[in-house]
């Protein structure tokens, strides 16, 4: 047993840190650190910086413009960028579609779409969930009917994250309805500017516009936008989900959030002492810190076991559950730490350039919103209930 990274890996960590120190714009990292809203331009700026360094496609092989990193390197990169308050890499093109195209796409699709993901020509979004197909993803109803050189698509997708920014959407559509519901699904790439595509915002409980409904009415999609074989899309969809889970524990994000919590708990005072010394609050913090320490090692165990391939489904599922629970608990504690100042909500304070006085401590503004918004973590990306099904299926083999 040896939990240390190799010398080469530690050198790589230093290289990432240097890069972040030099290239991550302070303007952007401050927005991330203070919980301000990121604009489309912010993401694009950061993507371009990473792409210039060749570090944007952290899970792609080198031949397609990816980093070709080991899982350890990818882990280190994720950790360091999170701790430096870099924005996340928007995953739809880079972590989701990219790997699918690389494995199942035609040469034409690879050579056309992959470079455009890297250089930002296309902002992708995901067309998986439907109003009637949440956890039961395979029961999707959006239908694509072949008509000459096109598919004609009708139906509705929902929970489309950042779809308002998107140029393209990769969609699961039904191309056949006999047989099991998992059969007859195809994987289509659809241009959002095609007539008949309509995006409507969904406003979440925190007032934010982050997700959307996407409606398709007689949308004509060229047949060359079919990925792989017709009716085999479920295979690709599952492959994508497996890939999505590579960094599912969110260790870096959780560590950054815990640091933030610790600072707040040292600043807030209760009974004449820092809140961090209140026995019950300290115990809550220690519980989640220990959970996080344990999960870090579980995550490394999974990474070490999966070197060279995607993680096993049930261990990935455990990391998804515990990782989201930890992130939710940290934002819950941060909310608790604020006391009455969790309640005031000046929405403008979350925009860049706000120059009003903060209400209460200057870190207070995004805290309640963050707690509320993070309820999604246990719902989206395969709900934690679905993850428990995955675990018991593997354990019980009934």
């Amino acid at each position: 047993m040896n939990l240390d990274f190799t010398k080469a890996e530690e050198d790589f960590r230093a290289e990432v840190r240097d890069f972040l120190k030099e290239k991550l714009p302070k303007r952007i990292s401050e927005k991330v650190r203070t919980g301000q809203r990121l604009t489309k331009a912010d993401y694009e700026e950061w993507h371009a910086i990473l792409n210039e360094r060749g570090w944007l496609a952290t899970h792609w092989p080198k031949q397609y413009g990816g980093t070709g990193w080991s899982v350890a390197q990818a882990y280190i990169f994720d950790l360091e960028t999170a701790l430096a308050h870099a924005p996340r890499i928007v995953p739809f093109g880079l972590s989701m579609l990219g790997p699918v195209l690389i494995k199942y796409g035609s040469e034409e699709q690879k050579s056309y779409w992959l470079p455009r993901i890297l250089d930002g020509s296309d902002w992708w979004c995901q067309g998986y969930s439907e109003p009637g197909a949440g956890s039961d993803l395979a029961s999707l109803k959006t239908r694509a009917v072949r008509d000459g050189d096109h598919y004609v698509v009708n139906g509705q997708k929902t929970w489309t994250t950042l779809g308002q920014h998107a140029d393209m959407v990769f969609c699961l559509v039904r191309t056949a309805s006999d047989g099991k519901k998992q059969e007859g699904i195809s994987f289509l790439l659809i241009d959002m500017k095609t007539p008949g595509v309509e995006v409507r915002p969904i406003i979440l409980l925190d007032g934010e516009h982050e997700v959307n409904e996407v409606f398709f009415t007689n949308v004509r999609v060229p047949v060359e936008n079919l990925v792989g074989e017709e009716n085999k899309g479920w295979t690709y969809a599952k492959y994508l989900l497996t890939y999505e889970r590579m960094n599912i524990a969110g260790v870096g994000k959780a560590m950054a959030a815990f640091d933030h919590l610790r600072q707040i708990a040292r600043t807030q005072r209760k009974n004449g002492k820092p809140l961090a010394q209140d026995p019950l609050f300290a115990a809550r913090m220690a519980r989640v810190e220990i959970d996080l320490e344990n999960m870090k090692t579980t995550n490394l165990r999974v990474l070490a076991a999966s070197e060279g391939g995607p993680a096993s489904l049930e261990l990935g599922a455990m990391l998804k559950i515990r990782g989201t629970e930890i992130q939710q608990e940290i934002t819950s504690l941060t909310r608790r730490a604020l006391g009455p100042y969790a309640q005031p909500f000046v929405s403008e304070a979350l925009d860049e350039g706000y120059n009003g006085d903060p209400v209460g401590p200057d870190y207070a503004a995004p805290v309640a919103v963050d707690y509320l918004n993070n309820r999604k973590l246990s719902i989206f990306g395969g709900s934690n209930e679905i993850q428990r099904e995955i675990i018991t299926k593997a354990l019980l083999e009934l």
Partner: protein, 367 residues
């Protein structure tokens, strides 16, 4: 033993419930909450006419209620409707006025709906500790200087009950006086803002602001007002929880996944059973707190802390489980549930959270 409300109270609850159902639907509520004022003087007057404000005060000041169960029936209905009107501050401040024995004319106006009160006690450094007060009264007690934090609906108030040091230093229970300050008094400034859970609050800054002394040694009046406030919030929370439970049960019955209503899934059933069980425990805690308002201090404050702890703990459970059982739709602005969830979460941040009251319960048990 009798767990039924008196006929009078039941009639009041029915009337208030009907009014809110008919005239204060969720869209109306959102419009009021998002308005510049953050409350509706029209509804306020109408509810005053129905006797809802009078029910919060006892006969000594011209009301016809003021007991724990009067507060209970009113706030339970307000919770069900997610009302943002300034009942809490008015009730708490009015209670101080009643108990400090004056201000009959003002109270009359308040109960008629012509005036709103606010209760300004906690400060930036308090973190729920009622004795952590720094607002300074001049030696003569004629003017106040300092800042009060997150005062509910302070912009709506014609008069504000403000606590301030007449002696001692922050952390001491003695030397906290209570004062009445008029809106618009010299040196008074309010920085108002919306609340995440609806309605508005504000930071109240006083600078040599003239004030009327209500009580020299006011800590016990503060505790009494906060106890009544906790009873109110507990019942508001119970009203909200009942609504969230009903909505979630409804969703479990109608939403289908894998070809069946999701309420058929045993894992969700068992979690829902726990939620329902805990809500009954929360209701019992609220009952205990209501009864306790007339008890001697230690007994009362133990019941108050037990209730607030319970409401905080169960509230978080109900919020998180109701959203999780709904899935994504439970997080949308469009669904009333999400607004109930926000309010219930924030009730946990008013007058002490779960941990604060758990520790306080222990301390009181040793006293």
């Amino acid at each position: 033993m009798d767990f039924n409300h008196s006929d009078d109270r039941r009639m009041l609850a029915d009337m208030l419930g009907r009014y809110l159902q008919e005239r204060y639907a969720i869209d109306t509520r959102h419009a009021i909450s998002n308005s510049q004022a953050g409350w509706s003087s029209e509804h306020w007057s109408a509810l005053a006419d129905l006797g809802v404000i009078g029910a919060l005060f006892d006969e000594d000041v011209g009301g016809f209620g003021g007991t724990g169960f009067d507060i209970a029936v009113v706030f339970e209905q307000l919770g069900k409707a997610l009302a943002v009107e300034p009942f809490l501050g008015t009730m708490m401040a009015g209670r101080v006025l009643a108990r400090s024995g004056g201000q009959h004319a003002l109270m009359e106006k308040v109960m008629a709906g012509g005036s709103v009160l606010a209760f300004a006690h906690e400060e930036a450094e308090s973190h729920y500790d009622l004795a952590e007060i720094a607002m300074q009264a001049t030696a003569e007690g004629a003017t106040l200087t300092g800042t009060k934090s997150v005062v509910y609906q302070v912009e709506a108030a014609s008069h504000i009950v403000v606590s301030a040091r007449v002696a001692g230093s922050p952390g001491q229970e003695t030397g906290i006086g209570l004062f009445l300050v008029e809106a618009g008094a010299p040196g008074l400034a309010i920085r108002g803002y919306p609340m995440i859970d609806g309605g508005r609050g504000g930071e109240l800054t006083l600078s040599n602001t003239p004030a009327t002394l209500l009580a020299e040694d006011g800590f016990s009046l503060v505790e009494d007002a906060v106890a009544a406030g906790v009873v109110a919030l507990s019942w508001e929370a119970v009203g909200i929880m009942d609504r969230m439970k009903a909505d979630t049960l409804d969703y479990l019955r109608t939403r289908k996944q894998f070809g069946v209503p999701i309420g058929k899934f045993q894992a969700l059933q068992h979690r829902m059973a726990t939620v329902a069980l805990e809500i009954e425990q929360a209701r019992s805690a609220a009952i205990n707190a209501s009864v306790s308002l007339d008890d001697p201090r230690i007994k009362r404050e133990r019941a108050i802390s037990a209730a607030k702890y319970t409401i905080g703990r169960v509230g978080t459970l109900v919020v998180e489980e109701a959203i999780q059982l709904h899935g994504g739709i439970g997080m949308t602005w469009e669904l009333p549930l999400s607004h109930y969830a926000k309010r219930l979460t924030m009730i946990g941040h008013q007058f002490g959270d779960e941990d604060h009251h758990l520790a306080r319960f222990t301390a009181l048990s040793m006293a």
